[in-house]
Symmetry: C2
Subunit: 454 residues, 2 copies
């Protein structure tokens, strides 16, 4: 007998947390479906040939690998041990755990290309695993919640992502958020405009840190990376942009007037804005942030990020357009755009702002309390009628002391308690206690159903 | 670039399958909640110390083990290789994948005993992994869907399980099913009655095969196992039982009159029947099958199994009462009873009997078809209004040829198509086509919303 424990970096989700997480995920899924996205699930276990080499060297390290079953040593030769893990790994492990939802999605599209309605819009809500060092807010097993469209470069998809973000956070009652957007082509244009063409990746890595380390340190880093002083000086326009989206567009148009790709990026942003406007979205919480890079080098067009204002937490959603998602699986030239919701962070934001609805707990609505086997017997048909009326109901399973039965209701957060004693059985009126207000009165069963459903 | 493939024994669930699976799981979860069960999720990754030794030697073999991250060879000494996997395994792997939902549930209860409202009623719907040889209908990654109550031996729980089974399969429109029940104490009593006390485990193993191999072969196996001829002859009463539950109870009462525990088992069954009756369950599809053992030696009271009649498939649900679930984690004497739904088999049954509802597909309800950028622009506010009315809607993202747009609707199973051309824009009446009937007419937007929601 050993004291049981959770594996490092993993969590149990008990009933209360589950109810709140389900509330978030159901809200997001509802919006995804309303926009025509269909559900997909892929297996947790993938062949390492599918996963390796897709996330860089660091990603390969962070993949959880599964030991081959049976005699996992049968391919290992005595000398292999000295060669180290690189030699031994492919001999003892052929499978691994999903690291994100994007690569399995790409594999699915490549394998099913002939059966899918293209453009293919899917959403996927499943856990992923990373052998990261666990720390506050970083887990080894966590959910991702993604929606992607592949097979079209229509900017309608970008506009719809902006709409979905507003619908999701609106439905979650999160009023104060900002959808930041940018376009990778604008970043490319900026690199050209400052006389450092083709170096937008390095530029991105540095300016991606602007929020965290400030302008001076970004400039120092650029200098260290060998950017000319004139280039860095030229970047001032970038640092001086305001939050006004139309002003920013105008400034950039002028600044990037000699960069064809930069102009293209700005035009794309303008078209997306026009589409969003055409949808009639009221009070769009939209900001054009030309410094937004999201560190991910595979974005080729739009880049999105959502921040909850007034809460000290990173972005709660992010995404963008990428080309060639499935190229590595033999299906080239498929453009796509996707958005990912950070469930753990959204949970923390709603919790901090006290935005979870009272009834999110999904608990039992009424507990029937009984005194003896006669009283228990009388409870059975009542229980059936309550449940038929769609009311989640329970009968305490024994005739334990009243205090114990009430404690159970309290601990489980059950809002109503129905006392069924011999008097009540005779009267056909039962004593209903509202646990929040303490009110207690006798009612007929029909009245009780009304009260609980009110 | 390699041709991508699924890991052996795993599956993708594309949109159509997902919709049907979601229909099944949502139905089951809805019933669980109505009966006061609360959701729990545990991590896929558990410490091997939690998992090993809980499923027998064969189970230990079938656990997927996860290679330690980083230098997984650091504890392996040169001589270890010759010692084989038993020596090497604990040095290279400390974690494994969940094999069922019961052991993680027991771990959760043991770790959180002081915070849980007891009796604790939880449901859990998550995948599990087994390194079994994959074959038709047997996968290495599959969902389990369990509900358990722990912390009470009240037979009310057994009665509620029978109710839940009827509600779930009723809601799934599966009319012809049988809930078989038995009690481990009856099996113990039978062992006593035939003069082989204490040998009910062996007896169970043999009679569990009755359905598959027939009476003669069961008798031969018992003889081989050293049961006396007189004992085997005495078993005839068991083989002669009818489907009539009250007749069976009467016969067993007489047969097991000298076995105290046998009588106790029959009394428990009678009390459960009485409780079910008290709930007012109409036409219970209940059968007392004294040969039902479900091979699982840990059941100590009630045993349940559900069969879909007229479909060649194993049981679609099963469960029973167990004692000492959490004993191995230092929390003894906790009695519980649980039920598990076989999602894959229920899927196959509903598919074979054509019982999935038409609208289970959850697809987009209407596709807006456009001719050019003007037409696309006109679609945007229409799309917003449809979605505000709760209608899942899509606009084809480009002005592709009409045939291509209609093909998309067909492939995705979208029931309505809305054509928005220049004439329609002028009239403010749009052409709605019902894809099933082929009917096509012009309507105002309000009329369209009514038609689609009809």
């Amino acid at each position: 007998m050993s004291k049981p424990s959770l594996a490092r970096g993993t969590r149990d989700f008990g009933p209360e947390i589950m109810a709140k997480r389900t509330y978030i995920l159901d809200t997001i899924k509802f919006v995804f479906k309303k926009f025509g996205f269909l559900p997909l699930e892929t297996p947790a276990i993938e062949n390492l040939s599918v996963l390796m080499g897709k996330y860089g060297d660091e990603g390969d390290q962070l993949l959880f690998k599964i030991l081959n079953s049976g005699d996992f040593l049968k391919k290992v030769k005595p000398g292999d041990l000295e060669e180290g893990t690189k030699t031994v790994l492919p001999k003892v492990a052929e499978k691994g755990l999903r690291y994100d939802l994007t690569v399995p999605f790409a594999r699915f599209v490549a394998m099913n290309r002939h059966d899918l309605a293209m453009p293919f819009k899917r959403f996927q809500v499943q856990p992923v695993w990373r052998a990261d060092r666990p720390q506050r807010g970083r887990y080894r097993e966590f959910y991702q919640c993604d929606a992607d469209v592949v097979g079209t470069d229509s900017l309608l998809c970008e506009a719809e992502i902006i709409l979905m973000l507003h619908e999701v956070f609106g439905a979650l009652q999160l009023k104060d958020f900002t959808v930041k957007m940018n376009n990778r082509k604008v970043l490319t244009g900026i690199a050209e405009a400052i006389g450092a063409p083709g170096r937008e990746s390095e530029l991105c890595v540095a300016i991606d840190k602007l929020d965290k380390i400030g302008k001076e340190k970004v400039e120092a880093e650029l200098s260290e990376r060998g950017f000319e002083n004139s280039s860095i000086a030229n970047l001032q326009t970038l640092f001086s942009l305001t939050d006004d989206i139309h002003e920013t567009v105008a400034t950039l148009k002028d600044w990037l007037k000699d960069s064809g790709i930069g102009q293209k990026g700005i035009e794309e942003i303008e078209e997306v804005l026009e589409l969003v406007n055409g949808f009639g979205l009221e009070n769009p919480k939209l900001m054009f942030d030309a410094t937004l890079a999201r560190g991910l080098s595979y974005y080729t067009g739009a880049i999105f990020e959502v921040k909850a204002n007034g809460v000290q937490i990173g972005s709660i959603s992010g995404g963008g357009r990428y080309d060639n998602l499935t190229g590595t699986f033999g299906l080239p030239d498929l453009s796509g755009v996707g958005i990912s919701f950070g469930v753990d962070r959204i949970y923390d934001v709603l919790d901090e702002l006290n935005l979870f609805p009272e009834d999110a707990s999904q608990s039992t609505r009424v507990l029937l309390i009984n005194f003896d086997s006669e009283s228990q017997k009388a409870c059975l048909p009542i229980l059936s009628k309550l449940r038929s009326a769609g009311i989640a109901s329970e009968l305490y399973p024994t005739d334990a002391k009243l205090k114990k039965q009430f404690d159970y209701a309290n601990k489980k957060g059950i809002p109503f308690v129905l006392v069924v004693g011999s008097e009540e059985i005779k009267m056909q009126k039962y004593s209903l206690k509202n646990m929040a207000t303490g009110d207690q009165n006798h009612y007929t069963l029909d009245e009780i159903i009304q009260q609980i459903n009110a």
